[in-house]
């Protein structure tokens, strides 16, 4: 008997990917750093570290603290600036067998527009993520993702500058993420990345000093997974564009939670620090999961969580 392999391919706007697994921005370098530990042909795409208009030295150390079920980080967008980046980094990406998605950060609409346009003009870059939600940049990092009007403005401006897929990365550090998601879609986003890290803090009780040089940081890892799953579920109810679910995904079961909550793709970040073979393993196990359930494609499980009486009733009806 010839078994048909289920398809794991997905689409984010115009961007077609063979696998639904993205590597989170700032967690995976350009991919090259991990090539000796896992087969990068088996990942969907690497989201590159965010780049800004001007070089940034980033936050003081310590920048990382391990916490129960997670990690706090405050890197502070250290990057060489778009000019250096385009000249020295981007040319390398075209020769790689994995796709890379550029990530743009900024402090004004102009900043985003400038970097987005220049990055998107390069063939090596498959799509653009707008990081409007970095929690580790003093006072301004999350301004855009916390305000529906500013979100709309930055997305609309960048939409006018490129036809490439625009993924907008949203913050969990807001009262109502759905309002921001709605505006991002209306302004022309092709997909939404949900969520960025959750703001947090740790204090050394021996020295009484904060354990991060930046005092506060962004919490990632399994500690934030339920927060992220809820955010994906809520956002999926108000938008029609695909969602990249992210936040503490370590196993295939974690990935499935996000897909069932409404994510089309998933992004892996902190788990790569525990074991860089996780993305490859998840792809293989997702295929097995679909095969075992006789499903032809990954899309068949997206948003299929049985939630509420109405859905549960329908489900029972289907079974009957």
């Amino acid at each position: 008997m010839v078994e048909t392999q289920p398809s794991l391919a997905i689409k984010l706007g115009k961007l077609e990917l063979p696998y639904p697994t993205l590597m989170g921005s700032g967690c995976y370098g350009s991919g090259e750093e991990f090539a000796q530990f896992t087969d990068l042909r088996k990942i969907g795409a690497v989201v590159l570290k965010s780049v800004t208009r001007l070089p940034r030295v980033g936050n003081p150390t310590p920048r990382l603290v391990h916490t129960p079920a997670g990690m706090l980080n405050a890197i502070g967008l250290q990057n060489p600036g778009i000019d250096w980046y385009l000249e020295h980094e981007v040319p390398k990406y075209g020769r790689r067998p994995w796709r890379v998605i550029g990530s743009v950060a900024g402090f004004s609409v102009d900043d985003y527009a400038y970097v987005c346009e220049r990055l998107a003009a390069r063939d090596e870059i498959a799509a653009i993520e707008l990081n409007i939600s970095c929690p580790n940049v003093a006072s301004e990092g999350e301004t855009f993702a916390c305000d529906p009007n500013l979100t709309a403005k930055v997305v609309r401006t960048c939409r006018g500058l490129t036809d490439k897929t625009l993924i907008v990365k949203l913050s969990p550090n807001v009262t109502d993420i759905t309002a921001i998601a709605f505006e991002a879609e209306a302004a022309g986003a092709d997909a939404l990345a949900v969520i960025n890290t959750v703001r947090g803090m740790a204090i050394d009780v021996d020295t009484w000093h904060p354990r991060l040089g930046n005092v506060t940081g962004g919490l990632s890892g399994p500690a934030i997974r339920p927060i992220a799953v809820l955010a994906v579920y809520e956002v999926a109810r108000v938008v029609t564009i695909p969602i990249v679910g992210q936040g503490g995904i370590e196993t295939t079961r974690d990935a499935l939670e996000f897909l069932l909550a409404g994510a089309t793709a998933i992004s892996i970040g902190t788990a790569n620090f525990t074991d860089p073979r996780v993305p490859e393993r998840i792809v293989e196990e997702l295929r097995e999961y679909l095969l075992n359930r006789n499903l032809a494609s990954i899309g068949e499980i997206v948003g299929k969580a049985n939630v509420g009486f109405a859905t549960a009733h329908e489900y029972e009806g289907d079974q009957g």
Binding site: G26, C27, Y28, G29, E32, E33, F34, A35, Q36, F37, T38, D39, L40, K49, L54, P55, R56, V57, G58, T61, P62, R63, L64, V65, H66, A69, M71, N73, I75, Q78, N79, P80, G81, W84, Y85, E87, H88, R96, P97, E250, T270, N272, F273, T274, D275, P276, R277
Partner: protein, 274 residues
Amino acid sequence: MTTLDLPSRVHATLVTDRRELAPGVVLLELDAPELAAATLPGQFVMAIPPSGEAAATALGVYEAEMRRASLLFFITGKRTRELAELHVGERLDVLGPLGNGFDLSGSPRHVAIVAGGVGIASVLLPAQALIRAGARVQLFYGARTAALLVEAQRFADAGCEVALSTDDGTAGYHGYVTDLLERSRKHDVVLACGPSPMLRAVARVAAQIGVRAQLSLEETFACGVGGCWGCVVPIVRTSAQAPSFPPASEGGSDVVNARICKEGPVFWNDELRW
């Protein structure tokens, strides 16, 4: 290797020996022929927690010969405790060897190695290599208390002259290990590994006595491979490094943040701006 090669630096090792050298100090010996063959003095591995429930842990490779590699570490929390509880015959996956080790070129004749606490874990390989190359190696080894001065005899057996110090005076010199270095004044180069305050003191003493020092820096790693920029230290960017090193600021400062896991963990004292 090219990036298209299949993973080559993931090692599924087996624990062949496990010894508690002192309360909370553990030596894990691994059957890891490829790792042992590839490791250079001062390199480290990321040990993947068997439970998968915590981040990987960076550990210096203590010994590497034939099929054996060993890791010496202090139990400091959940992650190291899990590794310490491994039994002989159990599997431990490690990534590595990682980072740049000590620069042993230049045929130094007199070498001082300064180790503080768990820093001893990264200096046996360079000591052995230097002695093999004909250098005279003096180990200055300090710890809080006598019980934590583990493996001193191992270094003596390898041919090092060993000078000990403890914070509480229970063994060797009563005081800082860097005091011993300061009095020695006869070395071509200093290699050091230990807690940051000790390394800063080594850098200061080395500058005073007019000798260069290589310092193996400690920092919390997330990825250990240069992907996250979580473990940086300011260094002076030399013209040889530019443009592989990105500029730090618009003004084109020559001081840049280097990754301890990737560009280090070993740096020369005179390139650091910490």
